[in-house]
């Protein structure tokens, strides 16, 4: 039962992510990425992490992706520039693009190599899971209290920075 769910969610995540890369219209890319995040949230539930699953939906799919969608619709530039980006296979493209494709392949090969070299952990998870939100919250506000406070400063800086960067320059 959980195995089937893993393969279904994993398949949806991979397929949706591939389509995000393959789409030419950014609106479809954003919507497909939301589908991919939903599948990942299901995987977090399978990993006994309901807190992460819920904030994945609320923060990622709900807030960050809506921000992306808002910007895509605000810019009103749905198609990729066609005069620069002729439709061709990545390996047949001009120099930098072929180099990028080779880098991506090299990264995939290295990840695969690293995964085959790690000793395999057969069978299911042996340890009892920590899934209670209370335990996570207690750890967050005692052991990781400093990191939590620094995070609040980061959010403030990002907020001010976004407002300053996106502001229209007023004529002097």
């Amino acid at each position: 039962m959980t195995d089937t769910a893993f393969y279904i969610f994993g398949g949806i995540a991979i397929l949706a992510s591939l389509l995000v890369i393959a789409q030419r219209n950014p609106v479809y890319s954003v919507l497909l990425l939301i589908a991919s995040f939903g599948a990942l949230s299901g995987l977090y539930v399978l990993l006994d992490a309901p807190f992460v699953a819920v904030i994945q939906i609320i923060v990622y799919a709900g807030a960050i992706m809506v921000l992306f969608l808002f910007v895509v619709m605000l810019l009103n530039a749905p198609q990729e520039d066609t005069e620069h980006d002729v439709k061709m296979h990545p390996f047949a493209g001009p120099g930098p693009m072929r180099f990028g494709a080779l880098l991506a392949l090299g990264l995939a090969a290295e990840l695969g190599w690293a995964l085959t070299r790690t000793p395999s952990q057969a069978g299911s998870f042996a340890v009892t899971p920590v899934s209670s939100v209370a335990a996570i919250g207690r750890s967050l506000f005692t052991e990781y209290a400093f990191a939590f406070e620094v995070t609040s400063i980061l959010i403030l800086v990002a907020m001010v920075g976004a407002v300053v960067l996106a502001r229209r320059e007023e004529p002097r």
């Binding site: 959980t2 893993f6 994993g10 995540a13 991979i14 992510s17 995000v20 890369i21 789409q23 950014p26 954003v30 990425l33 991919s36 995040f37 990942l40 995987l43 977090y44 990993l47 992490a49 807190f51 992460v52 904030i55 994945q56 990622y60 807030a63 960050i64 921000l67 992306f68 910007v71 605000l74 810019l75 990729e80 520039d81 980006d85 693009m97 880098l103 991506a104 990264l107 995939a108 990840l111 995964l115 790690t118 952990q121 057969a122 299911s124 998870f125 920590v130 335990a135 996570i136 750890s139 967050l140 995070t151 980061l154 959010i155 990002a158 920075g161 407002v163 960067l165 996106a166 229209r168």
Partner: protein, 100 residues
């Protein structure tokens, strides 16, 4: 039975897809979306390892990664808006000059 290995392989595949998107696409919005795919692949690894070790730390690190991702998306999209206002383009090739 599905174990840690399966999650690591899935996460590796997702990270490779995200990296391929950054290297191959010529649209700033899609490149930012690919970065989000990579961040999520890493999050999956953290949660899977946390589950395998029976510790809450993996989930807490995911919380911080999500915060940083939100900050990154806000600032990144603000920069994209600024660039689009100046160049009317989302192609990274057209932002080759340091000054306008």
């Amino acid at each position: 039975m599905v174990a840690l290995d399966h999650y690591l392989v899935l996460s590796g595949i997702l990270f490779s897809i995200g990296a391929a998107g950054v290297f191959l696409r010529r649209n700033l919005i899609t490149i930012l979306l690919s970065i989000e795919i990579m961040l999520n692949a890493v999050n999956l690894t953290f949660v899977a390892f946390g589950r395998a070790l029976g510790s809450a730390d993996g989930q807490i690190i995911v919380f911080f990664v999500m915060t940083v991702a939100a900050a990154e998306a806000a600032v990144g999209l603000a920069i994209v808006i600024g660039l689009f206002r100046h160049h009317e383009s989302l192609n990274p090739e057209s932002f080759a000059s340091l000054k306008w």
